[in-house]
Amino acid sequence: MKTALLASAAAVALVAGSTAAFAQTRDTIQIAGSSTVLPFASIVAEEFGAVFPEFNTPVVGSGGTGGGLSQFCAGVGDNTIDIANASRQIRDGEREACASNGVTDIREIQFGYDGIVFASAASGPDFALTPVQVYKAVAAKVPVDGELVDNPYTSWSEIDPSLPDQPIMLAIPGSNHGTREVFQERVVDAGCEEAGLPEGLSEEEAEAACTTYRQDVVTEISGDYTETLARLNSDPNTVGVFGLSFYEQNTDTLKVATVDGVTPTKATVAAGEYPVSRPLFFYVKGQHIGVIPGLEDYVAFFLSEAISGEGGTLEAAGLIPQPAEKTEEVLAAFEAGPTQ
């Protein structure tokens, strides 16, 4: 028992003392953020560890674009992350939060594109959607005969006879996901404009009409796409919003909807024909360059042709590569210094 007491005293001392001891520098790159970017970043991290024996394999966490950027902006130092993955651009408010915590050197890296698709159960009917139809399905209030009324539609065929007679049920990403913003901007806002709100609404009222969703048939998913898929499995009438890369890995259970008549594929997204796509980013904390070993090499490796270029490793995993000139531009800007 005496030894146990001594051991515990030693352990307590060790923990207390460790605070000082960990002032040493971390030697593993720490990444967090968008769950859309996570699979790509994880693959690059693994390859990076395999190709550069002198560096540790970077650690990649999730948490959504918003969650990642808030960790990123928490400050400068060992216990803050070095890179935030993002499926949208950083917002001004986030830059301000960053600056107030001393994170002033934020370097933006755009590395490719991802499409956002509407998919339903493979056994169900085909969907050919347009933004205005999606808007009419999700909005809490829709314009009918020049007046805003509570959304009366219960079935897709009531919105448009060309759509299947299936109850409206949608699973969309929660507001912590960058995908949500793209869904709002590219689909719902576009549809809202096209639907034509009644005259005489104030700006706020118009914005609320475009951004307020019905609670009864629209489910916001804050977790990963697997959670959306689980919802589709439990209710086959659900139409879910997924990343193109996720859909491509699950073509046996999912069926994709066309938007404005264009089927989402790598080719149609890369050509800009498919309307709902977005660039993918990661943000590097410039103040950690030279402090955390391998940070610059990671960026260069990520942007190398064998990884994120045409026919590279990430394309096989579902990334839509960006033109080589764009990549060169991004790399040059990264090497030049702060982007502010």
Binding site: M1, A4, L5, A7, S8, A11, V12, V15, S18, T19, F22, A23, R26, T28, Q30, I31, A32, S35, L38, P39, S42, I43, A45, E46, E47, G49, A50, V51, F52, P53, E54, N56, T57, V59, V60, G61, S62, A74, G77, D78, N79, I81, A122, G223, D224, Y225, T226, E227, L229, S245, F246, Q249, N250, T251, D252, T253, T313, A316
Partner: protein, 455 residues
């Protein structure tokens, strides 16, 4: 008069018997109902447990078997056109040698090892089959090229030789072989091209692809680039470190606190207050400890994120109240006669506690500890908040390195986008976690019964 009295008495007694008899049936019936409900409750509980186990086992067992490719690999000097490996004796200083060695390995890493892999696969493809290089390379797992490179780094003499190599089939090939993906679906819904599927079927027929035990599950860390090689080793080591930290910290502190409170502390309002609070702490949801850990250990004390050290500290906080309460309960249960006898023989209070009381309670304390640790092992929520749900592809060397834990790995695999491959793998990971739990609980039972016999 007397007979009247007797008759009256008999009537009363008969009346009583009748009353008892009439009530007896009701009482028997109530008892039968209660027993029936009890048995039904047990059957239901066992049924749920059985459902869980059967479902997990049914889903998980196939993941313990995995498709392997058996290839003859030729280390082609035309492709591996780098200089010979640097030799330590040729360099003036170890630093120079290391730099040269790194350079050599970097050159190797930048070679296209897939060409070597492709050639060895092509040699096995039945004559007359049309297959593109991309389709062919969808059959082996993507880490095969690293495997070949590492073989070469470890043994540069392989240059120009042909050796048999076993590599893992890709996750999609494994799905196809096992039928995890519906084989009757059309080309558009399949992950592999028709040519790749034909070649896999041919490989299966001629023994190039065979099923073997999925060692990768136990010898590898998590992998996203090569899903077929994803394993639990990193998570297991992470969990192990956390368990060690919990045992080293929670047990001595918890037991010491319990002994002091129970044996030495004066009964006052303060100790009552502490006692109430310890009981409350035991009921605090674990996620709260996670938030506390993130705020105190990471933001204030600047301990590394995603590290088992922080996880262990958080779980220690969570386990402490359980151990304190269990130890106090055990100490309370010790007969006062034992204490009085010890004190009567002239033992000091400390001697009484450590020589007489504590040994008797050891089995209970041990059981409580193991159960507390097993509970901590399965805890996920607080770990998510201290960054332990990150993707980590290295085995943590120390508790300060980034790591995940077994339950978190289950959570991560559950979210992986290759559903056909990772659903069985997740179930297999759950089976491994349950196996560890059963071993821990079994140890607790064994130790208790052994120590109780001795005392």
């Amino acid at each position: 008069m007397a007979t009247d009295h007797i008759t009256a008495a008999r009537e009363i007694s008969q009346e009583r018997t009748r009353l008892v008899r009439s009530g007896l049936r009701r009482r028997h019936r109530n008892e039968a109902i209660f027993r029936g409900l009890g048995i039904a409750a047990i059957a239901l509980a066992l049924g749920f447990v059985a459902l869980l186990f059967v479902d997990m086992t049914r889903k998980g067992i196939p993941a313990f078997v995995q498709s392997n490719l058996h290839l003859e690999v030729f280390f082609d000097p035309a492709i591996i056109d780098v200089g010979p490996a640097p030799v330590a004796s040729e360099f003036a200083s170890p630093a120079q040698y290391q730099a040269a060695d790194l350079r050599w390995r970097r050159e190797l890493a930048l070679l296209n090892w897939n060409r070597i892999l492709e050639a060895s696969l092509m040699a096995k493809v039945p004559a007359g089959t049309e297959i593109s290089s991309r389709e062919l390379l969808s059959i082996p797992e993507t880490n095969a090229r690293h495997q070949l490179r590492e073989m070469f780094v470890a043994n540069p003499d392989l240059l120009g030789r042909t050796v048999p190599v076993d590599i893992l089939a890709s996750a999609n090939a494994d799905n196809w072989v096992k039928g995890n993906i519906n084989r009757s679906l059309g080309d558009a819904q399949q992950q592999l091209s028709p040519a790749a599927r034909t070649v896999i079927d041919a490989f299966e027929a001629d023994g190039t692809i065979t099923n073997g035990f999925a060692w990768a599950l136990f010898t590898n860390t998590d992998s996203r680039a090569a899903p077929a090689s994803a394993g639990l080793l990193g998570a297991f080591v992470g969990s192990l470190y956390m368990m060690l930290i919990v045992i080293v910290l929670a047990v001595p502190i918890g037991v010491a606190a319990a002994i002091y409170l129970e044996e030495f502390a004066p009964k006052s309002r303060l100790t009552d207050f502490i006692e109430v609070n310890i009981n409350n702490l035991a009921a605090v949801p674990s996620i709260v400890f996670g938030l506390l850990g993130a705020a105190v250990f990471i933001n204030y004390m600047h301990l590394p994120i995603s590290a088992p050290l922080v996880g262990g500290l958080v779980l220690t906080l969570m386990t402490l109240p359980t151990i304190i309460i269990a130890t106090r309960g055990a100490l309370l249960g010790v007969s006062p006669a034992l204490r009085q006898a010890a004190l009567g023989m002239g033992a000091s209070k400390t001697q009484m506690v450590f020589h007489h009381v504590l040994p008797v309670t050891l089995p209970s304390i041990l059981t409580a500890t193991i159960l507390g640790v097993a509970h901590a092992l399965g805890e996920t929520a607080p770990l998510l908040l201290i960054g332990m749900k990150a993707f980590v592809a290295q085995v943590p060397a120390t508790p300060l390195d980034q790591a995940t834990a077994l339950p978190v790995q289950i959570y991560l695999w559950q979210g992986n986008e290759n559903r056909n491959f990772f659903e069985p793998r997740t179930a297999a990971a759950i089976m491994v976690l349950l196996g560890v739990m059963i071993v821990l609980n079994g140890t607790a039972i064994y130790l208790r019964s052994r120590l109780e016999k001795r005392v």
